[in-house]
């Protein structure tokens, strides 16, 4: 590896990590106005971030929304991924395109659209619109994760189970689902992290009662400029890192994301 290339890698890493690092450092500043570089050290803003009521409510809301939305996405996603991988049917390509479309549509468009539809049916102030919106947003990632797991599974496994006298439902429960378990778990964790971090669409579809943590943070920033936000960002990064590390440790992200071929 040449020196120039090494330098490029270092610069790239610095570029990627800089915002997070700056925010984390600024979180410990003693001044009440967020600034960089810091002039002192205090845990005060972490305490405030953790005790501020809107953040606490937002955190619990976000956990609920993330858990429910990613569970729904996993169930819908696995059925669709299985159908697309194993069967030929009319409109298969169209269905695939529609489900992957949210990748190309701006989040605010999805949020705005969901809000308009929810308003028409009188559900604009409820949880269902928030959850539905998040399901749509995370579904493409779940589908991708499950596709890879299905593609990596030898179709002869199911054939062998059938030949041994197992009926199709038994094959599904004892061979197919256990084989997909890492993909299901990985897809779920990814969906949950994405949902937990989602802001743009959530801004449209949440109200005071249903606001998720990123929306609560945005509302806070509009009124205050102290480093509590930076402290919360640091906690966010910590939580996501822990989740990803666990996911990687037990499931292998390369396998879930399809960057690594496990088929022999």
């Amino acid at each position: 590896m040449t020196t120039a290339f090494r330098l490029l890698v270092v610069l790239l890493l610095a570029f990627v990590l800089m915002p997070a690092v700056v925010a984390c450092i600024a979180a410990f500043d003693t001044r009440a106005l967020i600034a960089f570089p810091p002039v002192g050290f205090t845990w005060r803003w972490f305490v405030r971030a953790l005790t501020y009521e809107d953040f606490q409510i937002g955190f619990v809301n976000s956990l609920h929304v993330a858990a429910i939305a990613s569970s729904i996405a996993i169930i819908v996603g696995s059925a669709v991924a299985y159908a697309i991988d194993r069967y030929d049917f009319a409109g298969k390509r169209v269905l695939e395109a529609i489900l992957l479309a949210p990748l190309a549509i701006p989040h605010f468009t999805i949020g705005l659209g969901a809000l308009i539809v929810a308003y028409q049916v009188g559900m604009a102030r409820g949880w269902s619109v928030v959850v539905a919106c998040h399901v749509v947003l995370v579904l493409p990632f779940v589908l991708r994760s499950l596709y890879v797991s299905l593609k990596n599974m030898d179709p002869r496994l199911e054939a062998a189970a059938l030949s041994l006298g197992a009926k199709p439902w038994r094959v599904l429960l004892t061979v197919t689902l256990p084989g997909l378990a890492p993909g299901l778990a990985g897809g779920w964790i990814f969906a949950a992290i994405l949902s937990f971090n989602e802001f743009t669409a959530s801004l449209f579809v949440t109200v005071q009662r249903t606001q998720t943590l990123p929306v609560a943070m945005y509302n806070y920033v509009r009124e205050y400029a102290d480093p509590s936000m930076a402290a919360l960002s640091a906690l966010y990064i910590l939580l996501t890192t822990v989740l990803l590390t666990v996911a990687n440790r037990f499931l292998g992200l390369g396998r879930i994301l399809g960057t690594e071929d496990v088929r022999h």
């Binding site: 030898d154 002869r156 496994l157 054939a159 062998a160 189970a161 059938l162 030949s163 041994l164 006298g165 197992a166 009926k167 199709p168 038994r170 004892t174 061979v175 256990p178 084989g179 378990a181």
Partner: protein, 359 residues
């Protein structure tokens, strides 16, 4: 043949994929305990036929009987078969014992009986010590034996083997062939074996169905398909052959006289039916039909290439009249006498070639 004991019977089974006919009407009857091989190059229809027998594909035409029962419409899981795949297809999340017991659990066998039969099956394939390993911890040969135990523990009417040796290296392949044949004979299980490897087919089968382009061209013992191929493709696909362009002299009884490279041969007449005397034909000579000779009718030529294989050597000989001819000689003699460029005379004493209309 009464046909009532046939373990497998195919009555005109055919399969099309769109406009492509993967399998033309196939007829086959397999006796209890028989080992029948479907042999042919890739795309010949052998895998399609296996998938039809197993029930992974649905036949467009004809009927399939397994163990005397009509199963053409029966789903895979009710066909009473055991399959060993090329990829072994062991369940990665189950240990060896759980893999082998899968078919027993699917059949609702009691736990005690499952344990006893799994132990027995693992002993049969000499893997008792590895019962609690996961498939990924096993070598290719061991995985193969687990797959075999898993297919046999359910005591199927019919054992199907889909190119089971292709993923193994050469030495292990020979060993597994002997082991599989020994187990097959001991259990007397009727077996359909799919392969593209003529060596495996010759060494293991009671009968071989040689397939090409969706048809069974010849169904006979290994000896018959080698010595009396009924079809030009069979003669070329099984064993090595040198093809000499010749002429049909005449036919009488079941024999035909042909001449090629200045030598006259007597060949079976059946494959030449409809060919007029005087017409061109192709004579197929096996390497063992030719030997170095001093006198008598002979073909003369020059060695252009020599492959020394230890016990024997294969010589490629350029002849003025018949082009390049392959012959097999003892290894030591080849080293001493027939280097590249050496002249050689080849005689045909005891040769029993076959001839076909020109392709």
């Amino acid at each position: 043949m009464s046909g009532i004991d046939d373990v497998l019977r195919l009555d005109g089974v055919g399969k099309k994929f769109g406009a492509f006919t993967a399998l033309h009407e196939a007829w086959l009857r397999v006796q209890p305990g028989e080992f029948v091989t479907l042999l042919g190059p890739s795309g010949c229809g052998k895998t399609t036929l296996l998938n039809l027998i197993a029930g992974f594909l649905e036949a467009d035409a004809g009927e399939i009987f397994i163990g005397g029962k009509l199963v053409t419409q029966t789903p895979v899981w009710e066909r009473d078969i055991g399959i060993v795949f090329q990829s072994y297809a062991l369940f990665p999340h189950m240990d060896v014992a759980k893999n082998v017991g899968y078919g027993l659990r699917a059949r609702g066998v009691s736990r005690a009986e499952e344990a006893a039969r799994v132990a027995e099956a693992l002993a049969m394939v000499r893997l008792s010590a590895l019962a609690d390993r996961k498939p990924r911890q096993l070598s290719g040969g061991q995985q193969q034996r687990v797959a075999l135990a898993r297919a046999l523990v359910i005591r199927p009417s019919l054992l199907l083997l889909d190119e089971p040796f292709s993923a193994l290296d050469r030495n292990l392949r020979m060993e597994m062939q002997f082991e599989l044949k020994e187990i097959q004979l001991k259990l007397g299980v009727t077996t359909i074996f799919v392969t593209h490897d003529q060596g495996e087919a010759m060494s293991m089968s009671d009968r071989i169905a040689v397939m090409s382009e969706g048809r069974i061209l010849q169904l006979d013992t290994p000896e018959a398909v080698y010595r009396r191929p009924a079809h030009r493709f069979v003669a070329g696909f099984i064993g090595d052959a040198t093809v000499l362009r010749g002429r049909l002299l005449g036919m009488q009884g079941g024999k035909a006289g042909v001449s090629a490279a200045g030598v006259t041969f007597s060949v079976p007449a059946a494959p030449l039916e409809g060919v007029a005397p005087g017409a061109d034909i192709d004579v197929f000579l096996r390497p063992e039909h030719l030997h170095p000779a001093e006198g008598g009718e002979a073909l003369e030529g020059t060695v252009v290439s020599r492959a020394y294989l230890g016990d024997r050597a294969e010589l490629l000989v350029e002849t003025p009249g018949a082009g390049r001819v392959l012959l097999r000689v003892p290894g030591l003699a080849a080293l001493e006498r027939w280097g590249v460029g050496a002249p050689i005379r080849m005689g045909f004493a005891g040769a029993e070639p076959v001839a076909f209309p020109t392709g």
